[in-house]
């Protein structure tokens, strides 16, 4: 079969047999593709640092007859996360992007909007800024996957929430007004709702350069993670890790 060529983001690798690696790629051409990199574990010569998570690569792979896994022929590094300093918070943020893509994207379904989002967010994660790109990514990823409810009205009674308090709950979709909120709900500030509205109108670069403490948009991120977790029906490992980062 013919060798395919595509830009791709490396999501995860797992050891397979003695010397091989099972690699999950998010390719621009075909979406999420899983393939085997022969001898990648034993001999780093062929792939070098190209299979590190969140490396932006040009991947060459081919499908094999009656086999679900592709054969990964080679990868050319276009941009490595190792080019900038890997602090612990940055490593968690990068892993968060990888986990969301791996959990949310269906196999072999191209999604150019998500691909462009990842490329721009990875660029944003090159610096020490962490909470802005993570918030932007969580928001857009939730929307592009079709899991984002309307943020301007109560999901129960339909009343407009603009200017009034809004609440959310881990087990319920959408936002709720003060009358319809469930017991033990969290509140989403109107600043965070305005922030989300602004993030839908501007690229990630538009938010760079201004200080962004962890508290900013924390309620929005919590709301988004809860929505995503309801849809995939499992906990996101890196969401807890992000929560534990102190600043």
């Amino acid at each position: 079969m013919a060798l395919k060529e595509s830009e791709a983001i490396v999501l995860r690798t797992y050891p397979l047999r003695e010397a091989d690696l099972l690699v999950t790629l998010f390719t621009r051409l075909e979406g999420k593709v899983r393939g085997v990199a022969r001898s990648a574990k034993k001999s780093k010569r062929r792939f070098g640092g190209a299979l590190e998570p969140l490396t932006y690569v040009r991947a060459f792979y081919e499908d094999r007859e009656r086999q679900e896994l592709a054969r990964l022929d080679s990868c050319e590094v276009l941009e490595s996360p190792l080019a900038a300093e890997v602090s612990y918070p940055r490593a968690v943020a990068l892993s968060h992007v990888a986990e969301l893509l791996d959990e949310l994207l269906p196999d072999r379904e191209p999604n150019d909007a998500v691909f462009r989002l990842v490329i721009s967010v990875l660029a944003g994660l090159r610096g020490s800024d962490l909470w802005m790109p993570v918030t932007y990514f969580d928001l857009w990823m939730t929307r592009l996957m079709g899991y984002l409810p309307e943020l301007s009205e109560c999901n129960v009674c339909g009343r407009a929430l603009n200017g009034s308090r809004a609440f959310f709950h881990a087990l319920a979709d959408g936002l709720m007004c003060a009358e319809d909120k469930r017991l033990a709900s969290s509140e989403m500030s109107s600043e965070s709702r305005k922030l989300a509205a602004r993030m839908f109108l501007a690229p990630v670069e538009g938010f760079a350069g201004t200080p962004w403490p962890k508290a900013q948009g924390a309620d929005l991120r919590k709301f988004l993670i809860q929505a995503l977790q309801r849809h995939i029906e499992k906990k996101l490992v890196t969401a807890v890790m992000l929560e534990r980062i102190s600043s």
Binding site: R12, G48, G49, A50, V77, L82, A91, V237, R244
Partner: protein
């Protein structure tokens, strides 16, 4: 229903749990043990039992040892003020092979790995931090792998350990000896340039 007698099936099952051992190899090994004489089989069983009973982690450096502190930490000829931090006990052998390192070690038994839920609090670094705190060290060399996980761990450690009078260093990364820079990928070349030294 297994096609082997129960004790044989059990031995094969146990052998299969070893890394790199598949069904075929496990069967071959099991039949080899069955055919070997009683003394050899007993010696193998005893060696497996003893390794679990007598080996433990060195209280100073976390290396696997049968005496505490381990041979490196107890050595009078090694520089006890120079510590090389590695991910696994097996990494020590690679560094010892050079015959050019005369310091001691600290074994982390893992790296920071956010995708697996492993953060800094799960790393074994308390005894290393105590050595630093007590002013017992001049230099800590961080020799974790040049991967995202290895780098995140190194960066975290250097931030935690930094004290006046203590040097924290990272092993160099770059072009493998005897290879050709023409075949180095972009990131390896970048690291090699960053880690250049004056001649």
């Amino acid at each position: 229903m297994s096609r082997f007698a129960e004790p044989m099936a059990r031995l094969i099952e146990e052998l299969k749990k070893l890394p790199g051992i598949g069904s075929k190899t496990a069967q071959r090994l099991a039949f080899h043990i069955l055919r070997s004489n009683d003394d050899d089989a007993e010696a193998l069983a005893a060696a497996v039992r003893d390794v679990k009973a007598s080996l433990r982690l060195c209280s100073v450096c976390n290396n696997i040892t049968d005496v505490d502190p381990c041979a490196y930490c107890a050595s009078a000829t090694r520089n006890q003020r120079l510590v090389c931090v590695v991910e696994e006990p097996t990494n020590i052998a690679s560094i010892e092979k050079t015959k050019h390192f005369n310091g001691v070690y600290h074994v982390l038994h893992g790296l920071i790995s956010p995708l697996h839920g492993i953060g800094p609090e799960q790393l074994r670094i308390a005894n290393l931090a105590r050595r630093v705190e007590a002013g017992q060290l001049d230099e800590v060399i961080i020799a974790t792998n040049p991967t995202v996980e290895g780098e995140a761990t190194a960066t975290y450690l250097s931030g935690q350990l930094r004290r006046p009078g203590l040097k924290v260093t990272r092993i160099a990364m770059g072009i493998p000896v005897g290879s050709d820079i023409e075949y180095a990928d972009e990131i390896t070349m970048l690291k090699a340039m960053e880690g250049r030294r004056e001649l």
